[in-house]
């Protein structure tokens, strides 16, 4: 692709994309550092000693560790269990393990409170409440449920590409029992995937906002992100503002402290090439009831973690008032009628428009970086974009706010910029991965058959890349629709997204309407997402499966 005409295009693309990276990420984050530095001149100690701050930092770190040590083993266990051929409905379970990510984080958190809190579903129906659900334990439990799919996908992909069945058979044929083979062969092979999932789980929990906000804040449990939110939306004194900035900076530092050593240790290991690649085949099992037990365990996990809470949410949306038993004869659509106001529809439209514009722009930006980084001079762009993964949403939002707020503060444009900056890496990675897997010979043979570079890309590369492009687009749409971390900090009058409306309604404590809004938001997301997802699956199988379905389920955990 080194024709002279494309060299010009390449240079132009390089300049445009570099400018975008600078404006979206580099300038705002530098500005954040600069403002914290100047604003707190002499007063940084004062900021750190503010009441509750140390507590929030400790909470955040302990929570991230607690979620990781439970969610990652659970996800890995599920992946190992679902390789057994004797689990009834295996193919279905593999999809079911990932589906919970379609429920927005704060909707899931809110559903849990509707299901298990005092006056919740289990209390009303069975008289068994779990009051601690509104507090650190509830936050932890929901974050675990929310993180298990991520760990599951990492472990499942790791198993499919690294633990070929013959490697385990070789251990068995060498005299190892099933357990010894697991310990001495499968787990060591899986270690890099598990470690990567752990780092990601830790980092995502560090920057998680919605679940701690919905379930922790009412009981006084604070984390760094909820403190930033409180400082910016409620605090009016300059000290809270400086505190929010300092916390935003602290959050990114915490992330970096974890990610950089992890990348140094893990990076090379994850890149260790394999001797041979075969598809991850099921492990043959016979006899015993293990398969049945596994199916039972998975059902109860999914039922208690996702299905029952969502049902409780639907029940709450359909019951007229708190305390009314959620029996069918009490059901009414009043709550829906109440919330389906012009303001809601406006917000829905804004959210949809924002998500579609952001996703489309992000797919283009993702392709741009993926193409540019093939050349030596563009490689730094790929690295920079990947680095934005460690930027917590709260940090990014605060940085953008103090950099561009005086011109476009409170507008949808600012939220759009935040999405572009935050999700760029999410769009870039799957596209870049698919491009890596595209055999160079296919493009070369198109060129040798007389196609120009653009024609070659359109006729030969577009079709095999389609699942990745569509997948990246879908990840961005779903994530943008879910997103409240940044939009709740950045919205202004007339630019509140639908997710923000739901969050605000929760804060006002209007249970029925909030439940109705949450149901609407979830439907709003699941209904269009499912057909696109099915289309991607079909494209994937008809192109001959370009590798494992890696980052699709990974990214929409926000």
């Amino acid at each position: 692709m080194a024709a002279r005409s494309t060299s010009l295009g390449f240079r132009a693309g390089l300049i445009v994309v570099s400018a975008a990276v600078a404006l979206l990420v580099v300038v705002p984050v530098s500005r954040l550092g600069y403002v914290v530095w100047t604003e707190s001149a002499g007063g940084l100690g004062q900021v750190w000693s503010r009441p509750g701050l140390a507590r929030a930092v400790v909470n955040t770190v302990v929570l991230a560790a607690g979620v990781t040590v439970v969610a990652v083993p659970l996800g890995a266990l599920a992946a190992l269990a679902l390789r057994r051929s004797d689990v009834p409905g295996r193919a279905w379970w593999r999809v079911a393990m990932v589906l919970p990510v379609l429920v927005p984080q704060f909707v899931l958190g809110y559903s849990w409170t509707q299901a298990y809190a005092r006056a919740g579903f289990t209390d009303t129906v069975l008289g068994v409440p779990w009051p601690a659900v509104q507090g650190p334990w509830g936050v932890w439990a929901v974050l675990v449920v929310n993180t298990v799919p991520l760990a599951y996908v990492f472990a499942a992909v790791g198993l499919a590409v690294r633990a070929e069945p013959d490697l385990e058979r070789a251990a068995r044929a060498s005299g190892a029992t099933g357990l010894t083979a697991l310990r001495s062969v499968t787990l060591p092979l899986l270690r890099p995937s598990i470690a990567a999932a752990s780092v990601l789980s830790f980092v995502l929990t560090l920057e998680s906002f919605a679940i701690p906000q919905v379930m922790g804040t009412p009981s006084g449990f604070t984390t760094v992100t909820t403190l930033i939110y409180r400082d910016l939306s409620l605090g009016s004194d300059p000290a809270s503002f400086v505190e929010a900035l300092a916390l935003a900076l602290l959050l990114v530092l915490l992330t970096i402290i974890v990610v950089i050593p992890a990348d140094l240790v893990l990076g090379p290991r994850l890149r260790v090439s394999r001797v041979a690649v075969t598809e991850g085949a099921p492990v043959e099992q016979r006899g015993g009831r293990a398969g049945g037990w596994i199916a039972a365990a998975l059902s109860s996990y999914l039922f208690l973690g996702v299905v029952l809470p969502v049902l409780a949410l639907v029940a709450a949306a359909l019951t007229p008032a708190v305390g009314v038993s959620p029996r069918p004869d009490h059901w009414t659509l009043d709550n829906f009628r109440l919330v389906l106001t012009a303001r809601t529809f406006d917000a829905l439209g804004r959210s949809a428009g924002l998500a579609l514009v952001a996703a489309t722009a992000l797919t283009v930006l993702g392709v741009a970086v993926a193409v540019l980084e093939r050349r030596r001079s563009g490689r730094i762009l790929g690295t920079l974009v990947t680095l934005t993964l460690v930027l917590p949403g709260s940090t990014l939002a605060v940085a953008l706010l103090i950099t561009y707020g005086r011109w476009i503060g409170g507008t949808l444009t600012l939220i759009l910029l935040a999405y572009l900056a935050k999700l760029w890496a999410f769009a870039h990675r799957p596209i870049s991965g698919a491009l890596d897997r595209l055999p160079l010979g296919e493009l070369q043979s198109a060129r040798a058959s007389g196609a120009g570079p653009l024609t070659a890309a359109r006729t030969v590369a577009l079709r095999p890349l389609a699942p990745a492009l569509l997948g990246a687009w879908l990840i961005c749409v779903v994530t943008a629709l879910h997103e409240v971390t940044m939009s709740s900090l950045l919205y202004g009058p007339g630019s509140d997204t639908f997710a923000v409306i739901v969050l605000n309604s929760q804060e006002l404590g209007r249970i029925g309407p909030t439940a109705a809004l949450s149901v609407l938001l979830t439907l709003f997301l699941v209904v269009p997402a499912l057909p696109v997802w099915l289309l991607i699956r079909r494209l994937r199988t008809s192109t001959g499966a370009t590798g494992p379905a890696a980052p699709r389920g990974v990214a929409d955990v926000r």
Partner: protein, 364 residues
């Protein structure tokens, strides 16, 4: 060479059927491997070779039938012992070396599983690697090894298992002479003790015929023929088996008379007496197989050279004759041009659709 006359066979497969859903990947196969014997499973991909090996190794339970190792039943539809409790070692298709272990630790692995101490296991492993000529690669991981070196590590691991049956699941490359020698030496040295055998799956006829004491031809899960390499080559049960085991031509000619090892055919107007190994039934129009070495140029039969292909050591000639096209293999470079009239001689035929002689249809 069938060694199951003296004592218990190393492996005995009785009426084995393995189903995947409702597809019978292995269909009612019976097969023995004697001590010191190597049996090759020869068949195209999808013929059930791997499934058969997997059933013997214990990776897949039988749907019907039994598997006996050294006189002990290890698998039946009711009970299938796991691989680690069977006395088998496996060399895998792409060697299945563990990416996280060095060559030394890989080979020490089966010894450790037998309860060997780490140090003793490593010493033994180093000795095995040395025997295979890769003692200096002990610290390398699989990614740092070439294909041939990986094969040697894979075989060393299998040998370290000290099993009485070695299974080869279509090794991607042929065993080179040295590796094959080490393996066969091992079988010989073990014959005195308990006796060991090998079952070698391959789709390569040349490899199967050159390596094995007996060859089993598999087609869609069924055992089509079982016999010595000479038998399956010279006396195939049908055209499929004939073409699987090597190049051959099919001629059609009337058979007018037949004795035990001779028969008289009519080629054009001439009556020709040729050798065979079975009584050929007298027929108006018999289908007869001719291997490339069973005919030669020169003689009194007329023909026309259709094409020649120089293959280094020898030349393959396709000759158009009165009984059909015949492939003839001559030593040396081609001496005739395509299109030229040539004369030829037929020395031997094998009648198809006549059941093969003796025990070549199976030694149960």
């Amino acid at each position: 060479m069938s060694a199951d006359a003296n004592g218990v066979p190393v492996l005995e497969i009785r009426d084995l059927t393995v189903r995947y859903g409702d597809v019978e990947a292995v269909d009612a196969v019976g097969l023995n491997v004697g001590a010191g014997e190597v049996v090759a499973l020869l068949g195209p991909s999808g013929s059930g070779k791997s499934t058969l090996l997997h059933a013997v190794a214990g990776f897949r339970p039988p749907s019907r039938g039994e598997i006996w190792l050294q006189g002990r039943r290890v698998a039946s539809p009711e009970k299938s012992e796991p691989p680690e409790r069977r006395d088998v070692a496996v060399v895998f298709q792409s060697y299945a070396l563990w990416p996280h272990l060095s060559a030394l630790d890989t080979v020490a692995y089966p010894i450790r599983r037998r309860g060997g101490r780490r140090r003793a296991a490593r010493e033994q492993a180093a000795e095995l690697l040395g025997r295979l000529g890769i003692g200096d690669l002990a610290d390398r991981r699989p990614v740092e090894l070439s294909g041939g070196e990986q094969q040697r590590v894979g075989l060393a691991r299998a040998l370290a298992r000290g099993a009485s049956l070695y299974l080869f699941d279509e090794p991607t490359a042929h065993l080179d002479t040295h590796v094959r020698g080490v393996f066969l030496d091992e079988l010989v040295s073990r014959r005195e003790a308990t006796g060991a055998g090998g079952l070698y799956a391959t789709h390569d006829a040349e490899e199967a015929l050159g390596l094995a004491d007996r060859v089993a031809l598999l087609n869609s899960g069924r055992l089509v023929q079982l016999g010595t390499p000479e038998q399956v080559y010279a006396e195939p049960v049908d055209l499929w088996a004939a073409l699987l085991t090597g190049p051959a031509s099919l001629v059609r000619a009337p058979v007018s008379a037949s004795a035990d090892d001779l028969c008289t055919l009519a080629v054009g107007g001439r009556s020709v007496v040729v050798g065979t190994t079975v009584a050929v039934p007298v027929a108006e129009r018999a289908e007869l197989l001719v291997r490339p070495g069973w005919a030669r140029l020169g003689g009194d039969l007329p023909g026309r050279l259709r094409s020649t292909r120089f293959r280094g050591e020898h030349t393959d000639l396709l000759v158009e004759t009165e009984v059909g096209e015949v492939l003839i293999r001559q030593p040396g470079p081609p001496r005739h041009a395509a299109g030229q009239r040539v004369s030829w001689t037929l020395s031997r035929v094998w009648p198809l659709a006549v059941s093969a002689s003796g025990d070549s249809s199976g030694t149960r």
